[in-house]
């Protein structure tokens, strides 16, 4: 049944797919995971703080973003960011934002909502005696967080964080709605140019599957390695 197919198209476009597409996808995944975890951790700390204002602000952020479809947020930021920046900086015309920067900011902000829930669970999983012990040694809030609570919370939650990263990796394909050149977008471009839709989409699916599968396997291996001895 594959007699009419031309898988040569994959070989011909491979350098472009990897150099442009896959690099974009993987860089975006990695950077927005890092950004999302950092921002998400700060939001989690706000939600768990004793200040009512911070609690409400943190909860509002998470609940708001989690109730929006990702595609909508991508659209929004891509089209609104130049105007927001114009407003913020007081420039006379909309400030152009690069495609990559726009996608990175979008995913960082969006994923932070999910990462913050993970980190919140992680922080809450640490026994109350730990911050008490840190305080008893004379550490302030930030020292206690940085040296005692967060390292443990992060380790406990690493498998979940990486699982969320795999989801994020797949979600980055949604940037196609604003025609950004991620892996799926690049494959799609070649597919339409050469009229080889089926071949290219099968290939793209296989690549996504292999990377996600391999990453899941890695998570499982890692889980055993990093567990804190109790």
């Amino acid at each position: 049944m594959f007699s009419d197919f031309d898988f040569g198209v994959i070989q011909r476009s491979l350098p472009y797919l990897i150099k442009e597409g896959l690099t974009f996808t993987l860089t975006l995944t990695a950077l927005s995971t890092i950004g999302g975890v950092i921002l998400g951790t700060l939001i989690a700390m706000a939600r768990l703080s004793s200040y009512r204002v911070l609690q409400v602000a943190g909860a509002g952020y998470v609940n708001f973003l989690r109730s929006l479809p990702l595609v909508l947020v991508i659209f929004w930021f891509y089209f609104l960011m130049p105007y927001i920046l114009q407003w913020v900086t007081g420039a006379s015309s909309p400030v152009p934002v690069g495609a990559f920067a726009s996608a990175l900011i979008t995913f960082t902000i969006f994923e932070a909502a999910y990462f913050s829930e993970i980190m919140r669970a992680g922080i809450q999983s640490i026994p109350r005696g730990q911050p008490a012990a840190a305080a008893a040694l004379g550490m302030n809030y930030w020292q206690s967080m940085w040296y005692i609570i967060l390292p443990q919370a992060f380790r406990n939650m690493l498998p979940v964080i990486l699982t969320q990263t795999i989801i994020l990796f797949q979600d980055t394909s949604l940037v196609y709605v604003v025609s950004l050149p991620d892996f799926l977008g690049a494959a799609s471009k070649v597919a339409q140019r050469d009229g080889r839709l089926v071949e290219m989409y099968i290939f793209a699916a296989i690549v996504y599957f292999i990377i996600s599968f391999f990453a899941s396997w890695l998570v499982k291996r890692l889980q055993a390695r990093i567990a804190i001895i109790r």
Binding site: P127, G129, Q130, A132, A133, A134, A135, A136, L137, G138, M139, N140, Q143, Y147, I148, P151, Q152, R155, I228, I229, R230
Partner: protein
């Protein structure tokens, strides 16, 4: 050294501490005992501000806890505390557990901190375990590390919150031995414990608490010889019959 002045505390409507007043002078060893739920752990945790209280005040080495200008972290760094469940940092090796506070709070360099840590590990007899993680040690060993960790900060007073209650019976003595030695060296100590043997051996004074009140505050001999209150007599007869 520690002056607890008319301290009261509520959890909502529940009155955990009722007008508690007592003091610990330099070099004194004070044992706090009483039935569970009597507020003794809560009282000792108010001393370094881990538990808040609504009324009264506490002064540690002249510094008032209720004073707004008091730097609580700084005060806590001078007060050593040992917890019922050890609370070593499980993600850090023993040496790091001992060095972290010295370096980040007292600003000592690694070499100085390490020297101190090694000396104190030797003192509690655990130098061989320096590079292990807390989870690889027994309960008694962990508690001795916890004592060493507190001592690393050169505290002016040590607080012990039921240090042997979470231990298997055969490990209680190794921890008590360290505490007895510490007391004999003249360390100022406030100890919440059920170990009356320890109290008899090294305590100067015994405080008996019940339902949030300090019922009896007496010298060791008076407390064990002729407790004034009926509640203290009952308590003693219950725990000393075995």
């Amino acid at each position: 050294m520690i002056e607890i002045d008319n301290v009261s505390k509520w959890y909502g409507d529940f009155n955990v501490l009722k007008h508690c007043t007592t003091s610990v002078t330099k070099g004194e060893v004070v044992v706090v005992c009483g039935p569970s739920g009597s507020g003794k752990s809560t009282l000792i945790k108010t001393v370094n501000g881990l538990e808040e209280f609504q009324e009264g005040d506490i002064r540690v080495d002249g510094t008032a806890l209720k004073d707004k200008s008091t730097n609580l972290p700084k005060l806590r760094s001078r007060v050593g505390m040992v917890f019922q469940h050890f609370e070593l940092f499980p993600h850090l090796k023993i040496t790091e557990n001992l060095c972290l506070g010295q370096m980040k709070v007292l600003g000592r360099d690694r070499e100085t901190a390490m020297k101190k840590a090694t000396a104190l590990l030797e003192r509690v007899g655990l130098e061989a375990h320096a590079h292990k993680f807390p989870g690889q040690l027994s309960g008694g060993q962990q508690q001795r590390v916890a004592i060493a960790r507190a001592l690393c900060m050169d505290p002016i007073v040590m607080l012990f919150d039921e240090p042997t209650s979470a231990l298997d019976p055969e490990m209680v003595n190794e921890v008590l031995d360290v505490m007895v030695e510490l007391a004999r060296e003249g360390m100022t100590m406030m100890v919440v414990t059920h170990e009356m043997g320890f109290a008899r051996k090294v305590a100067n004074r015994v405080i008996f608490m019940d339902r949030g009140e300090i019922v009896e505050d007496a010298t060791k001999d008076d407390f064990f010889g002729k407790p004034r209150s009926e509640r203290a007599q009952q308590f003693l007869s219950k725990i000393l019959t075995h």
